[in-house]
């Protein structure tokens, strides 16, 4: 009654999928799936057997199923969760019971995120989107393949955040350390799988190009 938020009442039961772009309060039962771009609040009275994905999730009730919160996942003292937790930030209050795997790292949100991209494969986290090629560097009239580094001199007045040519952080790190065998345990999320033997060659190539 108070807040006119989307609500599943304590006595109500939904079997199926609930999706939406707003906040949702669950006091009752949901069996199936919840996919929300908004805050999901699972009350102490609620029993949810569903795969849950939302921007922010607060659990005070019972959940059986994996929970993914792109931002924060909050387990209140009365929470009972069986399932894997994935969240950008995680709060577990004393009293909450959890059984399942926990992954706390920045989740892939709507916008492009690069943070932790290089670490993600090593941490065994969820797949991030494939690395994007650097944005075109405003070289409007460069038709000839002549090498003119002055065009993208780093001492230029600072570009806007979005225009700044992006350099993959991982490659930079590999160069400075001089380590090539720092291969991730899992293959990088590249579009096509590069054979293990070719990896070395690719990295060296980047090095020579980066330091002419």
């Amino acid at each position: 009654m108070g807040a006119k938020k989307a609500t599943i009442a304590a006595s109500a039961r939904v079997r199926g999928r609930i999706a939406g772009d707003e906040d949702l309060l669950v006091f009752g039962r949901v069996d199936g799936e919840i996919d929300l771009r908004g805050a999901l609040d699972i009350d102490a009275s609620a029993v949810v057997k569903a795969r849950i994905r939302a921007t922010a999730v607060r659990v005070a009730g019972t959940v059986v199923g994996d929970i993914t919160a792109t931002d924060v996942l909050h387990l209140a003292p009365t929470a009972r969760v069986i399932g894997d937790l994935r969240a950008g930030r995680l709060v577990i209050e004393p009293g909450a019971r959890v059984s399942g795997g926990v992954t706390v790292e920045e989740q892939k949100a709507d916008g492009p995120r690069r943070t932790f991209e290089s670490l993600s494969p090593m941490l065994g986290g969820p797949r991030f989107e494939a690395r994007k090629p650097p944005p075109p560097q405003r070289a409007t009239a460069v038709r000839m393949p002549t090498l003119e580094p002055e065009i993208v001199e780093p001492s230029d007045p600072p570009l806007g955040e979005s225009q700044r040519p992006w350099t993959p952080p991982q490659r930079g790190r590999v160069e400075t350390e001089g380590e090539i065998d720092a291969a991730p345990r899992r293959p990088l999320p590249q579009p096509s799988a590069v054979p293990e033997t070719n990896k070395r060659r690719v990295t060296v190539k980047m090095k020579t190009r980066g330091e002419p």
Partner: protein, 109 residues
């Protein structure tokens, strides 16, 4: 206690059951079985059958609807499907395709 409300951007694919009421401002692809009042808001869309005690349709319903007491299709409302209730009100301007069954025996006054 908060009533069940399917918000404007919410899409429920499946069944909703409640001994109370439901307000549908979003979309329900599936059935609603409620023992209270079901309100299909002006922006609400239900594709599936509805069972309720009373039903108000200002939005769009596609499917058979049954009410133990009363069904009202408001002026902006659309119902495509058979309706069955003790009392049925269809406002001027409402859109309705289907058959009407008035079951007077269920009328409690």
């Amino acid at each position: 206690m908060s009533a069940t409300r399917i918000g404007r951007s919410i899409v429920v694919t499946g069944a909703i059951e409640t001994p109370e009421g439901v307000v549908v401002e979003g979309r329900v692809e599936g059935s609603i079985v409620a023992r209270g009042h079901v309100d299909v808001d002006r922006r609400g869309v239900v594709r599936g059958d509805i069972v309720a005690r009373t039903l108000d349709v200002e939005g769009e319903v596609e499917g058979p609807v049954t009410a133990t007491d009363r069904i009202e299709i408001r002026a902006d409302g659309t119902v495509i499907g058979d309706i069955r209730a003790a009392r049925i009100l269809i406002a001027d301007g409402a859109r309705f395709e289907g058959t009407v069954h008035m079951d007077r025996s269920r009328d409690d006054d």
